[in-house]
């Protein structure tokens, strides 16, 4: 089983890594989800014992490792939080920039920066010193 778990987790991770590099933000998020799923699977697979559910009394059978289960639960919950945040970023990007293509976003950003630099606000050090004097 060790080999099977390793193979499965590695496959999911590999697909996730590929997705993270794609150009489409939704697929990037999907890649992050896959990577975290793979991590949870590894945590569960690393349990020292495998057997009955760790709910007392377990009878004769040895219970599964409860510690990794608690950790896996934590990982799942944090995965949920991260996914929600990533999706919110995706929604915000789409609403403001009308695109989810990473390359387009980078290009827009570059153009935007150029625009800002043209209409640069005054530098800090140029700020009139009397301004501080002027404050009430």
């Amino acid at each position: 089983m060790t080999l099977v778990f390793a193979l499965a987790a590695a496959t999911i991770f590999g697909f996730g890594a590929y997705l993270v590099l794609t150009n489409d933000l939704v697929r990037v998020v999907a890649g992050m989800v896959l990577i975290s799923q793979s991590a949870v699977l590894v945590v569960i697979a690393s349990g020292l014992t495998r057997g009955a559910a760790p709910i007392l009394p377990t009878g004769d059978e040895r219970p599964s490792d409860a510690l990794v289960q608690a950790m896996a639960l934590t990982a799942i919950v944090i995965g949920l939080a991260v996914t929600a945040l990533l999706l919110a970023i995706v929604a915000r990007v789409r609403a403001t920039l009308h695109s989810l293509e990473v390359r387009e976003l980078a290009r827009d950003e570059a153009e935007h920066t150029a625009e800002i630099e043209q209409s640069q606000e005054p530098q800090l050090e140029e700020l009139d010193r009397d301004e501080a004097e002027d404050e009430q």
Partner: protein, 154 residues
């Protein structure tokens, strides 16, 4: 959505909240905990959103409005349960009454800080997830200047 989904959604709300309550209360002796119960609650709410749409769901269940407050109360409950032991000189996040001491019971539910901690987690996660559903149910709000851009884009 069809009348059927609306009817089903309406019918399922109470039972799913029941299930959540069961998972929460039985959490210490059986499968499930505050977190699982909270996710069940949020799923039940999500079903209402799906069936009725965000606006109607929030009209029919005005209590949803208090989701952020619920989350904050949950956080406070969890924190105060966690630090309760500090008052009597224990380390934080140890349960109180301490090992071996008598525990007050209501039926089979034992009242101790670990249980109220779990309850705090339940409130926090339920409130947070419902707020999340609410926010994701509508398209994001645009900032004024960006709205102009959006106009131009159209």
């Amino acid at each position: 959505m069809t009348i059927l989904t609306e009817a089903v959604a309406r019918l399922l709300l109470a039972p799913s909240l029941m299930v959540a309550a069961a998972i929460l209360i039985k959490g210490y002796v059986d499968v499930g905990d505050g977190f699982a119960a909270a996710v069940v609650v949020s799923l039940a709410i999500a079903l209402q959103y799906l069936a009725f749409g965000a606006r109607r769901a929030e009209q029919e269940l005005p209590v949803l409005r208090f989701a952020p407050q619920t989350a904050i109360v949950g956080l406070l409950v969890a924190l105060s349960s966690g630090f309760f032991a500090v008052i009597s000189g224990g380390a934080p996040f140890t349960h109180e009454p301490s090992v071996g001491a008598r525990v007050v019971r209501i039926g089979r539910l034992e009242l101790m800080t670990a249980v109220s901690f779990d309850f705090g987690i339940f409130l926090l996660i339920a409130g947070a997830l419902v707020a999340l559903i609410h926010h994701l149910a509508e398209p994001p709000e645009l900032e004024p200047d960006l709205e102009e851009d959006a106009e131009a884009a159209r």
